[in-house]
Symmetry: C2
Subunit: 376 residues, 2 copies
């Protein structure tokens, strides 16, 4: 794979505006890919949703949410957000439109919710609200991780609706200092949670009838879920999570299954040293794929657009430290090939736009929205 | 992964012999690996077997077979081989000891067998003979590909015995110019064949009762099988084969299954252009893993030694153009991670020695046997 920088000549240039849109082209096996910046000036953008009128909704980890216009400009932050504790990895996380957005105008978002004003004791929480013009109305917190925890790490925070819109999956983390809690069912930390969009608990969740277990839990043994998506061909949920040093994982989380953290992992402690008991244990799921060394996996999506026909059904997973998009070819529940697209920037999230282009968020204080399209 | 060159001081140096054994160290995730040359001066070595007395048996594609002494020296070629047509990719291929070698002294080997003396019309054939001192006796051809074909490409040639020694698997190729024959059952080209060690056909082979089909066939739709091994934990056969441009494959060939060549592949014609109909088709198996771009996959083995505990059960697959060993972590029938060991030389075959060290053959006119051991 070679990286080539070239200039895209614009169709028309006024005498006073000598504008050049720079695009890099990445050569891959099945497509040459143009990488263009479509928006910039975003403070650690984290979540991205398409409003389907050419505008995008972007969250910034710094605690703000903005509408990006079709021309890439953006103005005032959206008002009406709850108090958000911005600290280390914590702040505003993901955003998704309601499955019925065209009729209910609801958006769902996740964030670090403080115990009281200014407190560093926080939960990963999920709220929904009506988006009107540039303001949120009728805000309602539909989930808040139990218990609230100290520390500024491993919040999870990714949101995904099921295909039918009946369920909302929330990816959580172990909050860094309490990794053993990922194996206990009386806390939300280190879990993947499944609720209805109104916050109620589905009757067929795996632990609704188990005493001492939290009924929102769908699966457990997760370290820090950072990306999730529904596989178009099956309706199955897939998720990526950060490993320790090495052992970033792609999983297909199933009801009541144990994904092993911190008992089994392909990673090791930072600086070396074993974690847990090794790679395998009965009744614990091995990952579908793992990245070792770690790419610091962040977002993921199944590609289902028309711009890159050879990538249909592939997983695209982004890397922060890895500065990449990993393209994984899937057969059934398994990876049969990986190709890496080197972006040279920390990538936080990937989404597929309504026209089938691929959009990326870069993770820095002057964060960008990048667009991938087939090179001509 | 970093490559470090260092000198191994020898324990004792005589005044007149200033010898230094150069070893490179490759740093990998779970082990730092010393790479040492243990024999050299071999003409395109292709197959390797351990005689279990510290000596090794090595085939050279140029049509010769040699015993390598424990100190790396080798002398006269073994006498008594049949006529072998050495041409382009053709010549002497693999060698395996009989499952009962300690009592029967038989070796099995594969080679390009000419129709008549000097003819370029050849079969990939398998013979067995008793090895005594430096000569073969009682030579017997137990398999010969039907029909004999022109052309000097895609012979296959890899041999593997089942765990119980009852079956011999022979990996074949499409002979290059007749790729459609890989889909027909009336020829051996493009097939994986299963026979008893005496050349007879097992009664439970999939096509023994199918009119017009060759009864030696085990599986079909193969382009050019270059590596095979039995998975220790299951007894299952796995194999690697060359794709066209891209699409080198790892498969688990099962009785009567179709591995898709030339109908489905992840490769394309050299210089570009589609092969077949795409990636998928009902009733054709997708690969467990594919290398795209191609590494020109050659040998493979399951690692089952004690020198590299973290690699137990991993597939090690070698690359010619890829100049590497690809280490694949396996869960069930699936790859969950790949790590590449860059060797900087074309590698033809990999085998695990009786002490658990890993031995590689380099593919050139001054070919070497390399040994991988844990760095101290």
């Amino acid at each position: 794979m070679k990286l080539v920088t070239r200039s895209l000549a614009l169709a028309s240039l006024s005498a006073l505006t000598l504008a050049t849109a720079q695009a890099e082209t990445i050569e891959t096996r099945w497509a040459d890919v143009d990488v263009e910046t479509v928006a910039e000036g975003l403070n650690h953008p984290w979540g991205l949703a398409f409003l389907n009128d050419g505008r995008m909704l972007v969250t910034e980890r710094a605690g703000t949410m903005r509408i990006i216009e079709a021309d890439g400009t953006h103005g005032e932050a959206i008002s009406g957000l709850p108090e958000i504790k911005v600290m280390r990895q914590g702040g505003l996380f993901d955003v998704k439109l309601s499955p019925n957005y065209s009729s209910d105008s609801l958006i769902y978002f996740s964030y670090s919710e403080p115990e009281s004003e200014g407190s560093e004791i926080t939960s990963t929480a999920v709220a929904r609200a009506r988006l009107e013009d540039n303001a949120l109305h009728d805000l309602e917190v539909i989930f808040s991780q139990y218990p609230k925890e100290e520390g500024g790490r491993h919040y999870g925070g990714r949101l995904t609706f099921s295909d039918d819109g009946e369920y909302l999956f929330i990816g959580l983390g172990d909050r860094g200092h309490r990794q053993d809690d990922a194996q206990t069912l009386d806390k939300h930390t280190g879990k993947l949670v499944r609720i209805h969009p109104d916050g109620s608990v589905p009757e067929d969740n795996p632990y609704v009838n188990e005493e001492g277990a939290l009924e929102e839990i769908w699966s457990y043994g997760h370290r820090n879920i950072q990306g999730m998506d529904i596989q178009p061909s099956t309706g199955h949920l897939w998720a990526v999570e950060h490993g320790p040093q090495g052992g970033d994982e792609l999983n297909r989380p199933q009801s009541g299954h144990n994904y092993g953290w911190p008992v089994i992992t392909h990673g090791e402690q930072y600086g070396g040293g074993e974690v847990g008991i090794g790679f395998k244990k009965d009744d614990m799921e091995l990952p579908v794929w793992h990245w070792t060394p770690s790419i610091a996996v962040s977002g993921m999506v199944f590609y289902d657009g028309n711009q890159f026909p050879a990538w249909q059904g592939n997983v695209l997973a982004t890397g922060l430290r890895g500065q990449q998009v990993a393209r994984l070819e899937i057969d059934g529940d398994h990876v049969i090939h990986q190709e890496t697209l080197e972006l040279g920037q920390r990538i936080r999230q990937v989404q597929v736009g309504p026209e089938g282009y691929i959009y990326l968020l870069t993770d820095n204080a002057d964060g960008k929205v990048l667009r991938l399209s087939p090179a001509e």
